[in-house]
């Protein structure tokens, strides 16, 4: 079970360094190892311990964080040697990326470094999970996020509304996301301020939407303009780039964030990852989470309020299992979410965003969302 912990915020040391400075830090790790070897010492590498045992929920800040437990890996320990080699390979490669101003997806790094060690049958990496784990180790040991190591995950998500961005790495393109037709801007995997500047934003809040289809509905209904907001669709679980965008709209531009997903444990989990961060990336919640986010729907109470009994669906076993797990998470330990989750487990039904079309196509845009948002009828 997840621990809840109250402690003072860490100084925000991360993220101020230039690519060259981070490259220097990576070189520092290598220099230390070389020095150890020259002294006849066993070279070692220190990183933070991951896994649930070291993940904490910081109640003051409302985000998941990684605890202080550390782990050391030694080259001359047979159990560590392989991972040690992998770590130095990825460190050297990302150092090169930073110096050459190149970026790579984490799958590309895996492929770029995979080979059979000469005169052996040993592969450097046997699968991407191995290189992914090493990347997380490196993030911790140089105290940064992968985007600042010039690595990234796959992109997903769309942005629409009166917001002007500038891509400093692409001819300083400046574009307003309300003027790209109904399609909107395809959110990149990399949303760091060093690369993408939020030039201006003219909105009262950000509405984050789980499905692309609902996003298109709200665009067609001119919801952004009529309600003075920005629309971000995640297309399911939000990608890192999209989470970083939401985080920046909230922290830099002070925009409230309102999340709108399907009414089921999967949708609620999408919300919780946007709000508190994820366990796998607990160390980076300050970049990726948005603790002030609020949840507008769908809730199972909406089913009764709006007479949607006819358009619910049965929850799958996996959903019910997930709901039971979520009951135990500290950040769902409040009355409203406990009620919601217990209701889901009891009634075994789910309700999709698009089910609101049962009232009328425009109902979601003209009644459901405006009313709930005006009355602040949110879950925390």
């Amino acid at each position: 079970m997840m621990k809840a912990k109250t402690r003072k915020p860490k100084a925000k040391s991360k993220g101020k360094e230039t690519p060259k400075q981070i490259a220097k830090k990576l070189e520092g790790i290598g220099d230390g190892m070389v020095a150890d070897i020259k002294k006849g010492k066993d070279p070692s590498f220190k990183t933070q311990l991951r896994g649930r045992s070291n993940v904490e929920f910081d109640e003051d800040r409302g985000i998941l964080t990684l605890g202080d437990k550390e782990t050391t890996r030694n080259f001359l320990n047979i159990g560590h040697a392989r991972k040690f080699m992998q770590t130095t390979m990825v460190a050297a490669k990302t150092r090169d990326y930073l110096n050459q101003n190149k970026t790579a997806s984490i799958r590309e790094v895996y492929y770029e470094l995979k080979h059979t060690v000469p005169n052996s049958k040993e592969n450097t990496f046997d699968g991407q999970t191995e290189s992914d784990a090493v990347i997380v180790d490196l993030e911790h040991s140089v105290n940064t996020i992968r985007e600042k190591l010039n690595l990234h995950a796959n992109p997903k998500g769309t942005l629409y509304g009166d917001i002007t961005l500038k891509d400093k790495m692409h001819h300083n393109d400046k574009f307003n996301c309300a003027k790209l037709g109904r399609g909107g801007w395809s959110v990149m995997s990399r949303l760091e301020p060093e690369e993408i500047e939020i030039v201006s934003v003219n909105a009262k809040y950000v509405l984050v939407i789980e499905t692309e289809a609902m996003y298109e509905r709200l665009v067609e209904e001119q919801f952004a303009k009529k309600n003075h907001c920005i629309l971000v669709s995640t297309g399911g679980q939000a990608a890192r780039g999209t989470r970083r965008l939401i985080n920046r709209l909230n922290s830099e531009k002070k925009l409230p964030v309102i999340v709108f997903t399907d009414g089921d444990p999967y949708g609620w989990y999408i919300y919780s990852v946007i709000k508190q961060g994820s366990m796998a990336l607990a160390a980076h919640s300050q970049y990726l989470a948005c603790p002030e986010a609020q949840y507008v729907g769908m809730t199972l109470h909406d089913v009764e309020t709006y007479g949607l009994e006819n358009v619910t669906e049965r929850m799958k076993d996996g959903d019910i299992k997930r709901a039971k797990e979520m009951l135990e998470y500290p950040w769902f330990k409040n009355k409203l979410w406990q009620n919601q989750l217990k209701k889901a487990i009891r009634e075994k039904i789910r309700i999709e965003q698009q089910a609101l079309a049962n009232k009328s196509l425009e109902f979601v845009a003209t009644e459901y969302l405006p009313k709930k948002i005006k009355e602040k009828d949110f879950l925390p």
Copy 2:
């Protein structure tokens, strides 16, 4: 097994009508039924027979088409009555959409029309598959595509390069897709010329890319500018909107289309759907297919040519089964594809686009693609 057939192209009657004219056609169906009822006759509804037995491969045009077999549904036939009701419901609703200038996703139509018939326990629709089937029937009976009935599927896909679009339904926004930073334009579900105009395009060809990650790689390498092309990423199987975009770039703008997917049966199937159309939508290939498309890679021969033996993956059983099916499709009945598929079944390996990173990150952009495209080293 799929039939191959050579016959004269049908006149392209579809797609010239205005929304009002299509609404009139839908009303015509209803008027006919009312007239039948008034005459004491059993009202009926005629549509094309679907399913593989009526799907043909038109060798002259290089696309899948639907044959001439028709089927009639009668209201007073107990086996037809439910579907008859569903058809009239969807026809009436899409007539309303057209008259009100509204559009809807096919999931929204399902939700909008789903209810329990008063004084009964009968639901109008028990699942989206029922309404989806009725939509296809209607497309056939008024000889159009769902987009022109103001219906659409979910969007997916991204567009990048020196192409200027205008969205006539959204303030006539005009934007150039090379000037939206590295993110690009998020392709809509609706790409009909009545809505989205291709104002200008400055490119020698269109490169269609299966994965978002490879798309980002090529954007970073400035591939579009250096090679004077447009990039379209499909993010897996191409959505209808993206297929329509590719179709229009080829048919309206006469741009050659080159497809670049993972080297496995799934990737090759993505290619074949872009090129010849799909069996499920055989009636609409003229809008959605692109018979002139060519395939640049990945091929299993690339593995040997570029020494990628170390970064192949084992094919799953499902992939092998799919490859065996594809051997029998008429449009794969040529020596090059038969060789490719047999090689896959024999060696049971697959090779991803991103595996080219094993040479170097930029290899795909500076050597692999330029060389193969220059030498027209394509599969048909």
